[in-house]
């Protein structure tokens, strides 16, 4: 999930397919615990190989909060700048679960479409 630094067509495609999934990715990250922005970025990179930049995540967190899916609170930190912790609202939990279920059916559709492509790669 690297940002599209270069710009070959295929790198651009990888950028484009990530779009839209970040909402779910972030909501899922908050499923079990409160986290702050940079922490979400670091965990996704460490555990899921998904790289998001700060300019990506903060606008999304702002949008999710505006939509009432998450809430936040400032917390003093022992390491410099204070942190803004986010957590799921009840509405956010319902939405994350609905998104996760939809994801399964969406993946199944794409899987069946690419099956012939993977079966015989034309060599």
């Amino acid at each position: 999930m690297a940002p599209n630094v270069g710009s070959t067509p295929s790198e651009n495609w990888e950028t484009q397919v990530r779009k839209g999934w970040l909402d779910l990715v972030i909501l899922a990250s908050l499923w079990k615990e409160k986290l702050y922005g940079l922490d979400i970025i670091r965990r996704l990179e460490a555990h899921s190989d998904l790289l998001l930049s700060e300019g990506t995540i903060y606008p999304i967190l702002g949008r999710l909060k505006r939509d009432g899916l998450i809430d936040s609170e400032w917390v003093e930190s022992d390491a410099g700048h204070p942190r803004k912790y986010y957590w799921l609202t009840p509405s956010g939990r319902r939405r994350a679960a609905a998104m996760a279920r939809y994801t399964k059916t969406f993946f199944a559709r794409i899987d069946s479409l690419i099956e012939p492509v993977l079966a015989k790669e034309e060599r």
Copy 2:
């Protein structure tokens, strides 16, 4: 994968996650045979429950052709307007295969992220 006719936030999300995958969906549709625009739309709806509109598919076909992934030719039809048939170029076949492989790893990442969400849906 219905078009976003209404506009509740959750329907909007479904629209957003589709974005980017349509290139692969269309290339995969052309894996085994030449097809024309409306035919691709009809097959995707019938076989995969994916609904695309004409205003969506024609610009994408134009872009894929500009990128050299598909080629096309006009064919007279016995049913009114002539049809523009598309097929994969060698470059398009390679790209479709690469996209399909990437898709598998991407799906695996998202799957592992949403696993906790699906495991316990907070009832």
